[in-house]
């Protein structure tokens, strides 16, 4: 308490300490403001104020950097405000029903995003289930096992993978992966079909099995999205793994550990924050992925947890698909769906950033 009060009072006087001392002020001032009076300081022993007196260059750069930093906040805030404002009519009209209704039929005045949200998360989760093991093993291989040559090659390949446009991944998933994914889906349905999650609304053992029933599914879309989020997840994990302290690595090896033992005891615990953070950042990206999903899925608005089956819908694919022919009321509904997606990704990314910051990653170890 005393320290903060003193700082507040002392700060403006800091430039004029000498003047204050020269005038033999009445004792009362020393009691009110001990920091500004040498006698008082000796008596009360409170922290004195220090004028940092930054050079002009530093102050100028500080100002520019702060302005640009704040600009990011302003842009983010204005997106949120704009979407929130545009959502008001829809939310007033449909209320909570907007979140529970699964169908999207503006022509019948039936609107809701529960089905779309389920589809969005299903695609994202499929993508993560595929991308996570690939990303973590890629990251471990690059940071721990690869020779310098292979390492730089793989790093640039992974970066290149991130630079492939979404539309290409969409075409890749649609034309190349879909027939193969249908076989995988059929296999999963045949052998794990007793779990509702792997069911498809068809008979898996029918003589010519209904291949197209396994097309255009959340599973196929998830594969394409996985390829898009993999580079980012792998890059975040690799960078954190590479920071694992050399001292601890050598300690483990000097105890007679295998390399894998060292990775398990030193690298992975150290990289925990990066693993979780990278995965959640991927989740944020996977939830919003649009064009590849639009290409692959065939729209279906039911709430269903059967990713192998044909038909699903995601928020971003819905917006992209309906945006062109929307009336102003429908546009508001689409913007509301976008607002919900914005909030969800914002929350997930903030959580990811908090986890990465809180983890020991990058912190010094002594």
């Amino acid at each position: 308490m005393a320290a903060s009060a003193d700082l507040e009072v002392g700060a403006p006087v800091s430039g004029g300490v000498l003047v204050d001392v020269e005038i033999p002020g009445p004792g009362a001032s020393a009691i009110v403001d001990p920091g500004s009076n040498l006698d008082g300081a000796a008596e009360f022993d409170a922290p004195r104020s220090i004028d940092p007196a930054l050079p002009l260059v530093d102050r100028a750069f500080h100002g520019v950097a702060r302005t640009i930093g704040l600009l990011v906040l302003v842009v983010m805030g204005s997106i949120g405000l704009f979407l929130g404002y545009q959502s008001l009519p829809t939310l007033q009209r449909y209320g909570l029903g907007f979140f529970t209704e699964s169908q999207w039929q503006p022509e019948n005045d039936v609107l809701g995003i529960s089905g779309v949200l389920v589809g969005t998360f299903t695609i994202a989760i499929v993508a993560l289930v595929i991308a996570f093991p690939l990303a973590i093993t890629t990251a471990i291989y690059i940071s721990e096992y690869a020779t310098p040559k292979i390492k730089s090659l793989l790093v640039s390949m992974v970066d290149l993978m991130a630079a492939v446009p979404s539309i290409i991944w969409g075409l890749w998933g649609f034309a190349l992966m879909q027939p193969k994914a249908a076989h995988v889906g059929h296999w999963l349905h045949t052998h794990l079909g007793f779990i509702p999650f792997f069911q498809v609304d068809t008979d898996p053992s029918a003589a010519p099995w209904a291949e197209t029933k396994y097309y255009a599914s959340a599973f196929v879309a998830g594969i394409a999205v996985a390829m898009m989020v993999l580079p980012m997840a792998a890059a975040v994990m690799r960078q954190v793994f590479a920071q694992a302290p050399i001292g601890e690595r050598e300690a483990a090896l000097a105890l007679g550990s295998t390399k894998w033992g060292m990775i398990r005891t030193v690298v992975l615990p150290f990289g925990k924050g990066g693993i979780i953070g990278g995965t959640m950042l991927s989740m944020g990206r996977a939830l919003g992925e649009t064009i590849a999903v639009v290409l692959i899925i065939s729209p279906a608005f039911d709430i269903k947890f059967r990713p192998l089956e044909i038909g699903t819908e995601s928020v971003s694919a819905l917006i992209a698909g309906r945006f062109g022919e929307a009336t102003s009321a429908q546009l508001s509904a689409l913007l509301t769906a976008g607002f919900v997606l914005f909030i969800i990704t914002l929350v997930i990314n903030t959580l990811a950033a908090m986890i990465v910051a809180r983890s020991r990653s990058g912190a010094s170890t002594d």
Binding site: L253, S257, T265, V266
Partner: protein, 273 residues
């Protein structure tokens, strides 16, 4: 000493260190030769101090003794290191087993920060795949911490993270961790250079006490420390532009009181380095 903690080398007595001998060790980093034909015997249950100015190859030599040298990708070496008569660089010897038998304590204390004090001590057992029962583990924890002179300070807080200890305590925790896998040789690379005088004394006492069970090789910049803890001493020197080597080695008393080489006399008397 339980047989469980040392299952793979039952032919050697359970108490007592191993003898180590380096024969004609040369070492390179890339094309830069840092050691030239260094030979040194480190008899069982003695403390050998490696002294010499910075950059003379002491630490490189030490890291060659338990195959840590090769962790640097450009590092190469020639020569042999014999542990109880067998070359540890022979293809028949597993590197993990060698490192387990020849432990190492580093300059900067490096406990595993995510682990408790107790888990730090037993980390080596888990890492080298030694199966232990709970009671054996507790016994090993107490014995290792006692040998490292840390038991009394931490016995009430074994579940706390190892990183919460002071620097000197962390270093003794690292010594306890190395001792828990029951090595025959313990290499110490300037173990006290990051510690205050009190902690340094405790570590030196620890070295005295563990000498009965372990052969110790210690790199130090501190002449007094070398004189206090070692029975045998090797003086390394790398003259301008040439790889490092041993100028003189022998009993510590002799190196300090009656050095044969004028360069050794200059160094131990503090005239350079």
């Amino acid at each position: 000493m339980t047989a469980v903690a040392r299952p793979l080398d039952s032919d050697r007595p359970l108490i007592g260190g191993g003898s180590l001998e380096a024969r004609e060790i040369s070492a390179w980093f890339g094309t830069n030769k840092v050691l030239e034909r260094v030979s040194l015997e480190m008899p069982a249950n003695t403390v050998t101090a490696l002294i010499g100015p910075s950059g003379c190859g002491k630490s490189t030599f030490l890291r060659i003794l338990n195959r840590m040298h090769e962790l640097v990708s450009s590092a190469q070496l020639n020569g042999k290191v014999l542990l109880d008569g067998h070359d540890i660089y022979d293809s028949g010897h597993r590197i993990t087993e060698t490192r387990k038998r020849i432990g190492m304590v580093f300059q900067k204390p490096n406990p595993f920060p995510a682990m408790s004090i107790a888990d730090n001590v037993t980390a080596g057992l888990k890492l080298s795949g030694v199966k232990t029962s709970r009671s054996e583990r507790e016994e090993i924890i107490e014995r290792s911490l006692t040998r490292a002179g840390l038991w009394k300070e931490v016995q009430d807080r074994l579940k706390q993270p190892g990183a919460a200890l002071s620097g000197g305590q962390q270093q003794r925790l690292c010594i306890a961790r190395s001792l828990a896998v029951d090595p025959e040789v313990l290499l110490m690379d300037e173990p006290c250079s990051a510690l205050d005088p009190t902690s340094t004394r405790r570590v030196e006492e620890t070295i005295h006490e563990i000498r009965e069970q372990v052969t110790v090789v210690i790199v130090t910049h501190n002449m007094q420390q070398a004189a206090r803890v070692s029975q045998q001493c090797a003086f390394f020197l790398a003259e301008q532009g040439t790889p490092g080597g041993i100028v003189e080695s022998g009993l510590t008393e002799q190196i300090f009181n009656n050095p044969q080489d004028p360069r050794t006399a200059d160094y131990v008397n503090g005239r350079f380095g």
